[in-house]
């Protein structure tokens, strides 16, 4: 297993190494860049209008040579970066179709800043792509249009195949530097899909489901399992290197681990019974799950290597869908102990049980990351389900979807500002993302049916 690495050169002094994407055989880890001291005092660009978000333009990057590959990288970075910066809604991105009248620059020195000012831009992100013997060298700058100061400037080197990852990295760093915001441009989704159309062997027509991953924007979709059975409930480890999921490959459902950068796997649940719905603790050391090993469906917690499984619930009802609080001190789950499935919270010792929903039917709680303290879930609202979010501090419940198809399986982005979920609103079952206040709906899968998303940390 080799990892191509993406050199990250900051300003002119600091150098850090980021392991980059290797899209050919299996993905390689994308650890966040080592934090640096900027080489100059960072400036924050604000809008000319008080209260409005600053307006940014992001044209295509400048290809410093005319070969098709360099031109493609330059164009891709500009477009992906525009989408990434637009995703968090911290900046007002000036639509790209208004850029046509502005002459393309051939270097950063020839960028016509006064023309960008005519578009009422507060800042413009410009950059160059230079071909090297091993890949490309990227320079990116966020320039304050009024002062002409560089508010953000970094250089990167890496393989051509990492073109989208360059843009994602720049977007996350601009969000961090300008807004102290953790962007999600380098995060990934996992879900399960029947897109292969293969059938499980047996007399009934049953379609295989395999685990997949994709970038947060739905690009780079990759298949993780290939055992031609039912593989569901996939979730990320906090370090983004391992997926836990339920597989029926050996008959009874068991929880498996897939180390997606090592190409290795393991079984978490070696005991009998049926085991479903894994959830990593926030520190990655433990996994909660549901199991019938003692006769009834209960919540268990085991160490990540499967050792020391402990039962947390002890009730004749069904207890499923565990999710951890951000601190790891509590677990929310679904129980039908009152007759209908509802969301409950308990301490990780199984004590202090508290019911938190009064829906006709509620399932798949997902606890938001800090600073929000919310639990999203799917609630039956009619013939189908809708996504709701309960604010644990105020007790208020807000609804994000409103009866378009059925909507299930919400999962928070690591910054708590977005959710992924499954919806049938477009016909088949597909993965969508939406902001935490229910806006900016985006469809991220289109092939086959896709279910049960989880968002990497």
């Amino acid at each position: 297993m080799t990892h191509s690495s993406l050199m990250l050169i900051v300003g002119v002094v600091a150098v850090a190494t980021v392991t980059g994407q290797q899209p050919t055989t299996s993905p390689s880890p994308q650890t966040p860049p080592v934090s640096q001291q900027p080489s100059e005092v960072a400036t924050t660009i604000s809008s000319g209008d008080t209260g409005a978000p600053p307006r940014f333009a992001v044209p295509d990057f400048i290809a410093l040579s005319n070969d098709a590959e360099t031109v493609d990288v330059a164009r891709t970075i500009g477009r992906v970066l525009w989408d990434d910066l637009n995703f968090e809604r911290e900046f007002a991105l000036i639509p790209r179709d208004t850029y046509a009248s502005i002459p393309a620059a051939t270097s950063i020195d020839t960028v016509p800043f006064d023309r960008w000012r005519e578009l009422n831009a507060d800042g413009v992100v410009v950059g160059t792509v230079q071909k090297t013997s091993v890949g490309v060298r990227i320079e990116a700058r966020l320039v304050n249009i009024r002062t002409r100061q560089t508010a953000f400037g970094r250089e990167y080197t890496g393989p051509v195949t990492s073109k989208r990852f360059f843009a994602h990295t720049i977007a996350d760093e601009i969000h961090q530097q300008q807004r102290a915001l953790r962007g999600v441009a380098r995060t990934k989704l996992t879900f399960n899909s029947d897109r292969s159309g293969e059938r499980v062997s047996g007399p009934e027509a049953r379609t295989v489901k395999e685990v997949f991953i994709a970038d947060y924007d739905g690009e780079n979709q990759r298949q993780v399992t290939a055992n031609r059975s039912l593989n569901i409930n996939s979730v990320w480890s906090p370090d983004g290197r391992t997926l836990a999921y339920t597989s029926y490959r050996n008959g009874p459902p068991a929880i498996f681990l897939a180390n997606i950068y090592e190409g290795t796997g393991d079984v978490l649940t070696k005991q009998g019974g049926q085991n479903w719905l894994p959830a990593f603790s926030p520190d990655g050391a433990r996994i909660a799950f549901s199991s019938t090993r003692d006769g009834n469906t209960e919540i268990y917690v085991a160490n990540r290597d499967g050792s020391n499984p402990r039962r947390l619930t002890n009730h004749g009802s069904a207890d499923v869908s565990p999710t951890w609080s951000p601190s790891g001190a509590q677990i929310a789950f679904t129980s039908d102990r009152t007759g209908t499935p509802q969301i409950y919270v308990m301490g990780v010792d199984g004590l202090g049980l508290q019911r938190i929903t009064t829906e006709s039917y509620a399932d798949r709680p997902t606890w938001s990351p800090a600073p929000y303290n919310e639990i999203a879930y799917a609630a039956r609202t009619g013939p189908g389900n809708d996504i709701k979010v309960k604010d644990l501090a105020t007790g208020n419940v807000r609804q994000l979807t409103f009866g378009e198809g059925t909507n299930e399986s919400p999962a928070f982005a690591p910054n708590g500002r977005h959710l992924a979920f499954m919806s049938t609103r477009a016909g088949r079952s597909q993965i969508f993302t939406v902001t935490r206040d229910g806006r900016d709906l985006r469809q991220v899968t289109r092939l086959g049916n896709n279910y049960q998303p989880d968002w990497s940390r």
């Binding site: 049926q274 499923v320 279910y451």
Partner: protein
């Protein structure tokens, strides 16, 4: 237990009805003489308590060779299974009257083929959520299993597995499809 008592009572009522028709000890292999002509009798007879009848089921130690079911392969058997599915009401894992009738037939089949081991699959329609349906499907499989246990099928022949709503029998999105998908499905795994 209650269901078994009810069954015994039902059999008792049935045998009383047969007795009223003139047969004293059904079921009998020998011919029954024609009933005598009715005699006017004004004196009401004292009702006899119904006689419980329990026919013992024959389980040959070896499957009968000319039996097409016992000679079929497992795949062929499951393709046209003598074990019929049990269907459930919306959100429910209770065995209804139709389900009991099917399970009685399945129990008879399992007694006839005493070496079979089966897996009972629990399935759900698509309206519930994927996660909770894993538990609901399991509860349906367990309910079917409990009924079969109550008929005397031994526990080690009966496994359960829940597929939630992952494998609908009918991909449609109306009640006709949903009602076919809320089921316990029986798979013969050994014979």
């Amino acid at each position: 237990m209650t269901r078994r008592v009810m069954k015994l009572v039902a059999i008792g009522v049935l045998s009383a009805a047969l007795a009223a028709c003139g047969g004293k000890k059904p079921p009998l292999a020998r011919p029954v003489p024609p009933a005598p002509p009715p005699v006017a009798d004004a004196t009401p007879r004292v009702a006899e308590p119904p006689q419980p009848v329990a026919e013992r089921i024959i389980v040959p130690p070896e499957p009968v060779r000319d039996d097409r079911i016992s000679s079929a392969s497992l795949d062929d058997l499951n393709r046209n299974s003598p074990l019929k599915p049990v269907f459930f009401d919306y959100d429910s894992s209770d065995i209804n009257a139709a389900g009991r009738a099917v399970l009685d037939e399945n129990a008879a089949t399992l007694k006839k083929y005493g070496t079979w081991a089966i897996t009972i699959e629990g399935h759900c329609d698509e309206r519930g959520t994927a996660e909770y349906n894993l538990a609901l499907g399991e509860r349906r499989a367990v309910a079917a299993r409990a009924y079969l246990l109550s008929t005397g099928i031994s526990a080690d022949r009966l496994r359960t597995v829940s597929y939630g709503k992952e494998f609908p029998f009918d991909p449609g999105r109306d009640e006709t499809a949903f009602s076919k998908n809320r089921r316990a499905h029986f798979v013969i795994t050994a014979k």
